[in-house]
Symmetry: C2
Subunit: 365 residues, 2 copies
């Protein structure tokens, strides 16, 4: 059978290994496994969310309210925006997909090492990918490539996954002033809650962004700070002109009834978010100390993970060593780096990781 020839050019996204797989492959018990591979919230979802899920479990036969009224209302209040400036997706990934299909760009610009789905979705429609020379976001390089090639879509991941670095709001806004109003700039704020907590200069407010730059769309997610990775809810915020076009390609019922309920409640539980952010950055310190003690380079992180740049040791060997001991981290070899990305866990999880990591270091001397 003949298929779309574009399929031959596609790579598949390599997800962090799930606990279930490690249970099957290594015969470990699920409870003993520590997963620090997919940047999930180690504190879990808000207790209020978990209660609401239990209270609404009997309603799963009903399709969700496809207008997502309650969630949009909560987002309007949270960000001081209008309902017609919001689109809901099955994770912010899906909004990326909508943007690519709605814009159908021939060229797309992004940082060399950034979220893999940008490239995957762009390639799926045959777009040419332009990448900066530097791994992390370098806006002079972005500008040079922009002027040279005039791409119709630009991705900025602020802060950046999988490296953890973060552009300042000021430099982002200066850059955006030089971009044509016909170019769609996708500002991926999946980890913005973390960056804004650590350093106010990093905070990008969606309302201010789209008022000043109506060619921008801001992406947010409930998968990280809100602890709902398994519920698949994200959103895009842009002026109505952009949102109305994206809505044309949104499939009906693209999030579940329980996801809608969970996200609406999660957004309002400020206490859980504060606890999450505090734990994250106090535990981040122990990672930085561990790295310094063991002379490992790391990228100062504005997210809920930290990236270790390895020199003497191999990321494959490290990831395998830890996996056999039931600790899952993210090997960045598929990004072309001898590096690992580790999600900041609970104190207990992190201490176990440090111990196993030290064993590895001793064994590889």
């Amino acid at each position: 059978m003949k298929f779309n020839p574009i399929l031959d050019t596609l790579q598949t996204y390599e997800a962090g290994k799930p606990i279930e797989l490690v249970v099957r492959d290594f015969g470990l018990s699920a409870d003993s496994i520590i997963k620090l591979a997919s940047n999930e919230n180690p504190l879990g979802a808000s207790k209020k969310v978990i209660q609401a899920l239990k209270d609404n479990a009997h309603l799963v036969h009903l399709y969700p309210d496809d207008s997502y009224y309650a969630l949009k209302e909560a987002l309007c209040y949270h960000y001081s925006i209008l309902a017609q400036e919001i689109i809901i997706g099955a994770g912010s990934d899906q909004i990326i997909e909508f943007c690519i299909h709605a814009k159908a760009p021939s060229k797309v610009l992004m940082a060399k090492t950034t979220f893999a789905m940008y490239e995957i979705y762009s390639k799926s429609i045959g777009a040419k990918i332009l990448k900066t020379k530097s791994d992390s976001h370098n806006l002079s390089e972005f500008l040079e490539l922009y002027k040279l090639h005039n791409p119709e879509v630009i991705f900025l991941c602020i802060p950046n996954n999988p490296l953890g670095e973060c552009l300042d709001k000021k430099e982002v806004f200066s850059f955006l002033k030089q971009i044509s109003k016909n170019t769609l700039v996708i500002v991926d704020g999946a980890y913005q809650e973390y960056a804004a907590f650590k350093d106010g200069n990093k905070e990008i407010k969606p309302k201010e962004l789209i008022e000043q730059f109506p060619n921008c769309i801001y992406l947010g997610t409930f998968s990280k700070a809100y602890g709902l990775g398994g519920m698949r809810v994200g959103y895009g915020i842009a002026k109505e002109e952009i949102i109305s076009h994206l809505l044309k390609i949104r499939p009906p019922f693209n999030i579940t009834t329980l996801s809608l309920c969970a996200a609406t409640i999660a957004l309002k539980d400020k206490e859980h978010i504060q606890k999450t952010l505090q734990n994250n950055f106090s535990q981040m310190q122990s990672y930085e100390e561990f790295a310094k003690q063991n002379k490992i380079d790391f990228i100062p992180s504005f997210t809920n993970f930290i990236t270790f740049l390895l020199e003497r040791i191999d990321s494959n060997a490290l990831a395998d060593f830890l996996l056999k001991r039931g600790i899952i981290i993210r090997n960045l070899k598929s990004y072309g780096l001898n590096a690992v990305r580790i999600t900041i866990g609970t104190k207990e999880q992190n201490q176990k990781l440090f111990k196993a990591f030290e064993e590895f270091l001793k064994a590889s001397v």
Copy 2:
């Protein structure tokens, strides 16, 4: 800003009205509303599923096992197929989307009145839509159009939504023998559980289908008989050649952690399915009697809904009259028909509908 010009040609899917909207618009209490518009299971999900959702609510921060191992294993056992012959989607809708993108057809063939998403997804890539003259599935007309235009994709909805009629397996297989192995035939079995229960001649077994016709894909869903409309889980079953191509365009984590859990358990609760099917067809009789008594034409249905073809009365007026009384049915005016599609509810719901319907009939004499 310039967008993909294809967007101008797209229509949006009109979903059944959600309860939340009727609550907002008419000031009715959510409990008093009867929704017979979206073919959800009126008995709800299996009790075992609801319990499992409660037991797993604390795991929603974790991404699902993206291999969907447990669910595929359950489907393998259920249908006697192999794991590599299965793809999981966010509803079977999403599998339709994968098929259209993977095949990139220039022409697509379908019945005149069938599931709206076939046309919406096909148009989204600019394909030409070929439709039979008859509203319901007429395989001679399908064959004639096939020979004339050579479409790369054919949709068969067995039984058909929104009309309810169902082709016999025998005639489907005779038809398929005349179709090129390079044409992808999508056999949508969203309501197959109902058809197979009512009449064994309608049953299409995925294993037999794909063994005999390797150019076919069978679509199944957990949204109807399994009572999980709100959880968005469907599946495609085809030979590995087709599935491997579709997997290339599946986004990671396309169903939620709780959806994966719910579907896996729902598939195994045979008792709940039996109860669902028995209630459906015993209540279906009361709809047929109601129609006969009131001299309303209907299409004998092999699904969990019944379509009334109206003559003396207008479907807009009827749907509005019922809506104001808190009863939501599906007006088929958007399909170009003066008809309504009513989901078979519980005995109590159906009796309330009959009462209100009769009031409408009296008022319109």
